[in-house]
Amino acid sequence: MSTQIEQQETETEADEETEPEVESPGDRRRAQRDERQAQEQAQREVEEETLDDEDTITLKVFRYDPEVEGKQEPRFDDFRVPFHKGMTILDALIYARDHYDSSLTFRHSCRQAVCGSDALFVNGRQRLGCKTQISELEDPVRIEPLPHQEVVKDLVVDMEHFYDQMEAVEPYFDADETPDDKLEEQRQTRENREKVKMSTRCIWCGACMSSCNIAAGDNEYLGPAAINKAYRFAMDEREGENRKQERLRIIEQEHGVWRCQTQFSCTEVCPKDIPLTEHIQELKREAVKNNLKFW
């Protein structure tokens, strides 16, 4: 149980004892709330007693808030959450937040691995909260914000740098020329679509970047996700040769593909199973081939 809630409860109770006479609407509300909380607390205790270990799971969650006293020093809070089949890390976090501590902070939205908001560091590995079944993990489950990014609060990290890197590769389709007719599409072979298919799946979750040692050491390294983005366009035959040259120029900068030391951890953690290392390596070869022309 999070120790923090209990503290706060006792504090508010103390407040009330000092001013019992005047019954303002606020007091009434507070009284009601306390009553309800007491009930809930009791109920929760009953629930917890009846829950044997098989049915609960312990979360150890990283907590930090630069503004709130007691949270300025990073710490871990424990939450015991009832377990049910099919429960994901995200479900457990939501439960802990809605039942125990409403200040528990994490990003999430789609609950189906498409929005990329909830990449977390769970039991020593980058994972998407909503895509990770608790039953696959060891108890207690330790949940931290993504490593190598500044922590804003609790499990929320600053993604700005990641976005900057993504945008540094000019991540937009920019064909040398498009058909004049507004109803005429550009042709693309099935093979070519297959080639870029995996690379287009990226959901910008940042798990890969966070797992890469090189990116950790070199802030300017474009990182696997951005390089994969560049791959997605460089390999798209619809763009044309000129644009491809420009794209190669971007990725073969010093902090581009050459930084990658083929550690594969990006590929391993990517929730969308994008073969990142393979794409990076292919771009290295592409860049070398391209340079050979000028020798």
Binding site: R29, R33, C110, Q112, Q133
Partner: protein
């Protein structure tokens, strides 16, 4: 204070398209969004985008299908505009690099979809929405469009005139989630609401946690009428614990639904003797719930969708992603065991009343996407029609707001377009608990843009201050109450009794909400605060849905009423409209326009 020509609230498909359109017109446009654009729920769409692209197909066939699908509650001018603009918009996406699935000759593939008379659904694998969203965000990056991401818009800055149609929208107020800063956003030309769906009014939905109907609620309180709010689409196959969508493809390939007694209930209990599992979405959803209500649900909650008999090879070939979904989100191996499914809220056909150019009755306020109701989908949306809607009406709103000359809209907006006063007798008073409590966007005597904005900012600062400073209950309880009663009573089955109960529960929840406070004192990334404000919006939207549902005494499209089992064309080919009316919601009806420029639609029986 920030200032731009056009402010787009929300950066899903609709918002991005609008911003790009405004940018094309040379306007200085900014996107203000509570999620980073690529996190928007447009990314979740799987199926596809409808547009008449091929030789044998034409826009009027698409329009006809859409009108029929809407069960004759769609407005012809909206539908025609939509079907005409869609092909160009889809090809535009292709020119922007969207990785569509392709034919052997290199052209964009199209596939058949429910309710379409021609295979006109373009798609990009089973992740069409993801690609659409990312392609458009990339184009926004290319154009250097300014994005205020993780800024939560809390209120519109609207002038104070008695009649909503005299009001002008000068911008909005937003809260920077990361720093807690509250700022006014002045829009010189217009504000476009593109905040997406409202699925969080229900506890079981395919929508994202962020789909809380903020845009609807803000526009509603600012004086824009809500149209056809009762029209909510429920999808029959969603995973029970998360609401993740299991695509219709499983049933299309031959998946079978069983109840707890292992009966193939679609046939054995006579819900659809011909089509069985492949009957339309609403029929299947109702059948499933009947089974559960009659005690034949598995674990009293869901039914089983079995595809094991299709064989591993076929499943891996055509339904591989379904295996992943079931495994990742439900912990079930679809090759070994049946998958649990139940109906879930999926889409809101109704919303902020707009015309074909995206304009609302308030000058300078636009809406597009799922938030809006041009009345394209009427009583039922066809699969694959929402994504092109984002493009078509997003673009139109963007162009119009940026000052492009456009054909005058045929659809009339605003309470004055009312033709018939409404008659609904809610068991309890709906609307604001205390109409003078600052719920109305237009308050104070301000009409001058700067003053309007400043007073709205002040109001929002106060609101946030009060929420954080005071003691009270946590919003999560209120939200859970709302979601629960909505799912119990305003779900697939609607009875008068249930709807009335829902209204009473919602009233109680509103009273509870008076007591909410934010426990987290931090100004840094305070999601507790954001969710608390969202819950307020959910309340308003839920109530509007329920009021509309109580008023509409017929069975049309997605709206089913126990006491009224048939479509009543004489009486009910009209939109239910709800005006906030300074906290005392007022119902009225607006006629449906069945005559288009080129074609007039005759209501026919909707059968497939």
């Amino acid at each position: 204070m920030y200032e731009h020509d056009v402010i787009v609230v929300g950066a899903g498909g609709a918002g991005l398209r609008a911003a790009i359109a405004a940018d094309e017109e040379g306007a200085d446009v900014a996107l203000v969004t509570k999620l980073h654009p690529v996190r928007s729920h447009t990314g979740a769409a799987e199926g596809g985008i409808n547009a008449a692209l091929q030789e044998g197909d034409s826009w009027d066939l698409h329009a006809y299908d859409t009108m029929k699908g809407s069960d004759y509650l769609g407005d012809a001018p909206a539908i025609d505009t939509f079907a005409k603009d869609a092909p160009e918009e889809v090809i535009q996406l292709e020119h922007w690099g969207m990785p569509f699935s392709r034919e052997d000759d290199g052209r964009v593939s199209q596939r058949p979809f429910g309710g379409l008379s021609y295979p006109r659904t373009t798609y990009a694998g089973a992740e069409t929405g993801h690609h659409l969203l990312h392609t458009m965000y990339e184009q926004a990056v290319k154009r250097g469009i300014e994005v205020y991401d993780e800024w939560y818009v809390t209120q519109l800055a609207v002038t104070d005139h008695d009649d909503p149609e005299d009001r002008v929208c000068h911008g909005c107020v937003a809260y920077d989630i990361k720093s807690g800063e509250i700022q006014g956003f002045r829009a010189n030309n217009g504000v476009i609401l593109a905040t997406g769906g409202l699925g969080q009014a229900f506890d079981h939905t395919t929508n994202a946690v962020a789909n809380t109907g903020d845009g609807c609620a803000m526009a509603y309180r600012a004086g824009v009428p809500m149209e056809d709010m009762e029209m909510i689409q429920f999808h029959p196959t969603t995973l029970p614990s998360t609401g993740v969508l299991i695509s219709e493809g499983v049933r299309g390939e031959g998946g079978i639904l069983y109840n707890d007694d292992e009966e193939r209930f679609m046939f054995e209990h006579g819900y659809a003797n011909n089509e069985g599992e492949l009957a339309s979405r609403d029929v299947v959803a109702r059948a499933e719930l009947t089974e559960v209500n009659e005690g034949r649900g598995v674990e009293d909650e869901y039914v089983d969708l079995d595809m094991r008999h299709l064989g591993e090879e076929r499943i891996l070939d055509r339904l591989e992603n379904i295996l992943h979904l079931a495994e990742d989100f439900e912990g079930v191996d679809g090759l070994e065991e049946p998958m649990p499914v139940k109906p879930g809220q999926h889409y809101a056909m109704g919303g902020v009343e707009t015309d074909e150019n995206g304009e609302t009755c308030i000058d300078g306020l636009y809406a597009a996407g799922e938030t809006a109701c041009v009345s394209l989908h009427g009583a039922n949306r066809l699969g694959g029609n929402a994504l092109p809607e984002l493009l078509v009406f997003g673009a139109r709103a963007g162009h119009h707001a940026a000052g492009k000359d456009m054909k005058t809209a045929e659809i009339q907006t605003g309470p004055s377009a009312k033709s018939e006063p409404g008659d609904v007798e809610p068991p309890v008073e709906p609307g604001a608990i205390d109409a003078s409590s600052g719920d109305v966007a237009a308050d104070g005597a301000a009409v001058e843009p700067k003053a309007v904005l400043e007073s709205t900012v002040e109001q929002e600062r106060q609101r946030v201050e009060t929420l954080i400073e005071s003691d009270g209950i946590n919003h999560a309880e209120v939200r859970a109450d709302v979601q629960e009663t909505m799912t119990d009573n305003v779900n697939v089955f609607r009875t008068e009794e249930g709807l009335e109960k829902a209204l009473r529960d919602l009233r109680a929840a509103r009273k509870e909400y008076e007591n909410v406070a934010v426990e987290d004192p931090s100004r840094t990334y305070n999601t507790d605060l954001i969710h608390t404000i969202e819950t307020r919006n959910i309340l308003d939207v839920a109530e509007a849905i329920t009021l509309g549902a109580l008023a509409r005494e017929e069975f049309r499209g997605a709206h089913w009423r126990a006491e009224h089992q048939e479509r009543k064309d004489e009486e009910w080919i009209k939109h239910t409209m709800l005006a906030w009316n300074e906290g005392q919601p007022e119902l009225y009806y607006k006629p449906v326009i069945l005559e288009g420029d080129e074609e007039t639609y005759e209501p026919k029986v909707r059968s497939y």
